[in-house]
Amino acid sequence: MQVEEAMRSAVRHAIRMLLLLVLGSLLGAALVRMAPGFGVHEEDLDSRLSRESHAALDQKPAEDASLIRFYIHYCGRLLRGDLGTSTSLHEPVRQLLAERIPETTKTLAIGMALAWTLGLGAAFASLLSRWHWIQWSTSFICSLILSIPTAVLAIFFFLAQAPVRIAVGLVVLPSVYSFARGLLNRTSGLPHVLAARARGVGELGILIRHVGRVAAPQLLALCGVSVCTALAACVPIEALCDSPGIGQLAWQAALSRDLPLLVTLTLIVTLVTLCANLAAEAVGGAAFREVRR
């Protein structure tokens, strides 16, 4: 029965994700199609080309004359794995992504690991400790980081020649800490925790067995959300620290108005975010059912 329920929930989420992607790709295709300058080629301005060559060039945009036809072509190409060609870098988008995805993946993995280790550690420490200064100092540091634009943080890391991956971790850290601390505080006031404390169970045991287990599903859900925050942070950090990842590519595409590349990148990033959220929800749901049982 539980397996059936889990399967139904997974299918429901997958359908929702698919619909969102279709909607997103339609929106992306519409934006590319309607943006000023669509269909204008550099060669159109080349006076050395003959009239026949110009006519041949003009034939191509006619294929995508209507938005619906353009969208069908666009989706067809996406399904075949053809992500188009970058108009600014003159390279296939697929190749550009293959070169840059590993760098961003490493940055995300190290940044997230750092943020979660420090954030959860600080939340546990402020809960277990009786010293108010720990809570004050962690809250102060997190508020300070929240008040600094990510791009400025990137400049600091660049000037200090520190690893950029730590900067991504620092951007995610405040949200992990604030959410985890609030959640652990609320959970530690639940009746079963008070009962365990009254029976003389140690604080660490309570935290692991009674508070941590109950809070796990929501913390896992936050994990999905923090992927979105980390990916957004990658744009200014990679751009300003000259780290060759997806974020830097998106920034270069934005500055040179390379819309096919930018929209494809945004779609891929959306897909990654949706998958991360789906996985977090699925694991969190399983953990919740386990706790309830």
Partner: protein, 268 residues
């Protein structure tokens, strides 16, 4: 804690007053170039020195604060109004309208904020006049920042849809527009007001990020984002501390907002 909140509130008022009085307080117009005094250090004539183009830093900071502090609330107001209309309509109508609006909100929330901002910003012309760039930047923030608030407003409106008050209003022949304006709107006002205040620091930081990436307010008009771009040309962290003044002001302002909002949140 109460004193700290009071101090934060006073600081915000002072910053707002200084920015509004910029024409009186600024030693020079923000775009005027003192070509013989480029990169000048602090002096009586230029209290914060001049930038690489010889423009007075204090004047640019005062005018830049005005741009950021006036337009971030304007963008927050636009986002909150859009969210109120979208969320209120979705919650009240239910069915496919609610599903569609919530799917659109989900889509906006699924795309990382800065990716969404730079994608849509790149679709609009980049080579525009400074005033047009200000309008584009903040209209963009307002138009793209509605999704989170719309979900909250939608959930509240959904709960109100089956309340006795709304059922009675429907039974007495109240139209959908009147229901939204007279009954749903006022009941959502507190939530929307809280979200409005919470959006302001987010939009200030977003503008700063966009400005630093060269996609924000265009030169010569100053904003906090364009003022922070000076940090990019520093040779080391310790060099020219005066260049950190805009950053210090931004951090203090956003932190003050956070302090004041805690109280505002609790009250609402």
């Amino acid at each position: 804690m109460r004193r700290a909140r009071l101090a934060a509130g006073i600081f915000l008022l002072l910053v707002a007053a200084a920015s509004l009085l910029a024409p009186l307080l600024a030693p020079a117009p923000y775009a005027r170039q003192f070509r013989e005094d480029t990169n000048a250090s602090c002096s009586r004539q230029h209290p914060l020195g001049t930038d690489g183009l010889g423009r007075d830093r204090l004047s640019r900071l005062l005018y830049g604060t005005r741009v950021s502090l006036v337009l971030a609330p304007a963008a927050a107001l636009l986002a909150t109004l859009l969210a109120g209309v979208a969320g209120g309509t979705a919650g009240l109508a239910g069915g496919w309208i609610e599903s569609s609006v919530m799917a659109a909100a989900d889509l906006f929330l699924s795309v990382p904020w800065l990716f969404l901002l730079i994608t849509v910003r790149a679709l609009l012309p980049l080579n525009v006049s400074p005033l047009a760039s200000v309008a584009i930047t903040f209209a963009l923030l307002g138009c793209l920042g509605w999704a989170g608030t719309a979900r909250i407003a939608g959930a509240e409106a959904r709960a109100l849809r089956t309340s006795d008050m709304i059922l009675q209003a429907r039974a007495s022949g109240c139209s959908a527009v009147r229901l939204l304006r007279k009954h749903i709107g006022p009941n959502l006002a507190d939530t929307l007001l809280t979200q409005f205040w919470l959006s302001i620091p987010v939009f200030i930081l977003s503008e700063a990020n966009l400005g630093l990436l060269g996609l924000g307010v265009a030169e010569p008009l100053p904003s906090w984002g364009s003022l922070l771009r000076e940090l990019g040309s520093l040779s080391s962290l310790g060099a020219e501390p005066v260049r950190f003044v805009p950053l210090a002001l931004l951090v203090l302002t956003v932190s003050s907002f956070q302090f004041v909002l805690h109280r505002e949140d609790a009250r609402l």
